[in-house]
Symmetry: C2
């Protein structure tokens, strides 16, 4: 029996898609595509048993299995392998339990991040990790990439909110890791091992998360600076004041121009860089008051505070994903550097763009030192495209190697996926990579789970 | 050449202790002893190379290696195995780097938790994890057990503060895991796997931690309740008010009586239970103001607020470790339950103590649902000791199984060590335990690293 017949028999035809439109739609996520491949089928699982059946069928036939949520990843973690089965978890989208006294929620992997937050908000709670894709992306996808977001510096990344997981292993068996309590140290931290493993060690089919308190008070400050360097220095100045904002986003002139273009705003005319800061909680007003003079002393024009316009700016920033998607003319990165190197790195990026004659825009989760520089060239005639590609690639490689030289990482929150594998060896030495390969072998000896990704 | 000769030759005699007094002092940590064994030598490493040489010698001779910091663990993770080498990391106590702009510190494993905090405080920073042993215990030991403490509910456990590790593996090789940045998702989370692994996967010889901002304002509230149940309910009431205290400690009448006895205070006369709450940061005063009426409405007498006496109480609580050590007449636990089950569990503990005719005192990191009940009997004549042991054991087992039945864990922060292995199978099913055994085999195929512990 073919794997398609086997899947159809086990799950029923309604959950198996074989048409070209679906196969094409599920062939890639939002990352650049290095090696385009079509899956042989898309399975839309509705239950844990569906996932187990799919894994068992793939194991029996030696067929690669690529699990995915909403496909909003930007590192190619959900790109299809040749003749793989793509396992979509979108339909497993129930919030199974939301306990306001325990301050926890148990969800299926296909629950949209924003939907969990909406359900939690009713109880004065929130799910803290907030990747820019939060209105589209799934908790399962967030777990697969250990997603970050805007408010991580204060509230932590996905890993910090995940208490327990249900995971289907490569042999189709189901295990439960972690604990329902906030703390728990029994045995090795398997939960943490699965978080961020991009579907290469097992398929996460259930997630218990800790919720945090939805802040009752929020203050927003928009600080415009004459140049990017001063704005980056502002991040350090806020740190030196020992105030922990919930959000501290750094936007350069290219980003401001783009927001203006899309939303008809006039941000670029107000300054060359914007530091957008939000404080929250019982101390929000006092924190904002402590931050403001520090920004002004650093040369900022603080044009708004706790205003509707400032809130709208945060909303613009939050929703900037989807304005454009990286393609061959536009390459985005996700490096992080130690905070003290932000200023140097920001300056060096501008030099790189000039040297390689490419355009640059940068947005940074600055509190984390996590930068998303994008290099791009205008869409050009095919005859000169090759040269543009070379220049883009050179700028990109230089931005990676400099981040590493400054003590940084090649990926702060997007994951390695397929796209960043080429740089992983620059960050992690062979013994560490070998350990990871052996862990992969231990969990997935036949190598069917998302092969060629993450490590 | 014997292993002792080999170690002496590699490290020099000054780092090797063979005398009975030292062997005895390093044979156990502060946990109950189930199987007393003496090491054949104690190695006091001063460098990474010393650790590597010791591991290599143990590997070559097939001799078990038990690493330890200050020996303040209470689960027997540092108890000696028969004829093992105990590797003390106390002398590796340098703070290698403390970068106030990056808000990170790199330390050797023997640095005392309180010493790192003192060094950080100069810069307005703190190392957040604060186990009760913080004045004695080492960062390396805290990492080995994924130590918690009083302020975890707000600031996280050890895992949440550790960014990167240097680890000597079972073959003596040295690897570096993690990242210097706050965020980083390259590859599998090996750092998280080592944290809490109690020296069974490798020997941690270097730790990079994230520091947090030392709060400038702190408010302390002491709420006395007529009974333990009301005090436990107070914890949930504060949660419902959606205020996140830095500290929320619950002390029962037995604990208050003991503090009175040791410190000459009069706590027990003020109420049968005490909920000790500390808020901190820019919102500390507003948070305290929001909490107070909630406590009063729940029947509390709030006798102190932001007073020197309240601060002193927190200090008493912080330093309650060391007043007594568990022994055969006194067994302490470290369970955690979901927050909503705190009240039920608290009541059930009192029933258990009555049923089994043993004494009980309870202190809880209540914000985490992490309880430390202690059952004990007065030191009795040998002729009746056996019966007392049976009653203690029965109460203890019942407290464990009930915590699990309520969705809890057998260890919130102390670790499994040697002492809690007997209950691990009640919490974790065989497939999860088998996965952990295979991970252990992968890292330590000869089984020399702290055998018989943690998993």
């Amino acid at each position: 029996m073919s794997i398609i017949d086997e899947l159809t028999s086990a799950l029923g035809p309604a959950k198996i898609a074989l048409d070209t439109a679906t196969l094409t739609a599920y062939a890639v996520d939002q990352a650049p595509v290095l090696d385009y491949q079509l899956p042989q089928a898309v399975v839309r699982a509705e239950t844990v048993e569906d996932v187990q059946s799919t894994v068992r069928a793939c194991a029996a036939h030696g067929v690669p299995l690529v699990a995915r949520g909403a496909g909003t990843g930007v590192s190619g973690g959900a790109h299809a392998s040749k003749d793989c089965i793509v396992l979509s978890l979108e339909r497993m989208n129930r919030i199974l339990d939301l306990n306001p006294e325990d301050e926890t929620a148990a969800v299926e992997p296909g629950v949209i991040n924003a939907d969990l937050n909406a359900a939690a908000a009713v109880h004065g709670l929130m799910y803290a990790p907030d990747p820019a894709s939060f209105k589209l992306s799934t908790i399962g996808g967030n777990v697969a990439t250990n997603a970050g977001g805007l408010r991580c510096a204060k509230y932590g990344v996905t890993r910090d909110s995940v208490l327990a997981l249900d995971v289907v292993l490569a042999d189709g068996s189901l295990i439960h890791t972690g604990h329902q309590t906030f703390k728990g140290v029994a045995g090795y931290d398997l939960t943490g091992l699965f978080v961020g493993s991009e579907g290469t060690l097992g398929i996460v089919v259930g997630i218990t998360v800790r919720l945090k308190y939805l802040p009752q008070d929020v203050h927003t400050i928009a600080a415009f600076y004459p140049d990017f360097r001063s704005a980056a220095a502002g991040v350090l100045a806020v740190g030196k004041a020992r105030v922990q904002p919930a959000i501290m986003e750094l936007l350069d002139s290219g980003t401001l121009a783009q927001l203006d273009e899309v939303h008809g705003s006039d941000l670029a005319s107000r300054g060359a860089s914007l530091l957008l800061i939000q404080t929250d909680g019982f101390g929000a007003a006092a924190e904002a008051a402590a931050i403001r003079p520090v920004l002004v002393a650093g040369g900022a024009v603080v044009t708004m505070e706790a205003s509707a316009e400032a809130e709208q700016l945060v909303d613009l920033r939050r929703n900037s994903r989807g304005v454009e998607v990286d393609d061959e003319y536009r390459v985005g990165e996700d490096v992080a550097v130690p905070r003290s190197r932000l200023v140097d790195y920001a300056e060096a990026l501008e030099t790189m763009a000039a040297t390689h004659e490419v355009k640059l825009k940068v947005v940074a989760h600055a509190g984390d030192g996590n930068l998303h520089p994008t290099f791009w060239v205008d869409r050009v005639d095919k005859t000169v495209a090759a040269d543009a590609m070379v220049r883009l690639g050179a700028a990109l490689d230089e931005s990676i190697t400099l981040a590493l030289a400054l003590g940084g990482t090649i990926t702060g929150e997007h994951g390695i996926g397929q796209y960043k594998l080429r740089w992983l060896g620059l960050e992690q030495k062979e013994p560490v990579r070998e350990l990871q390969r052996r862990i992969k072998e231990l969990f997935d000896p036949a190598g069917i789970l998302n092969p060629g990704k993450a490590i």
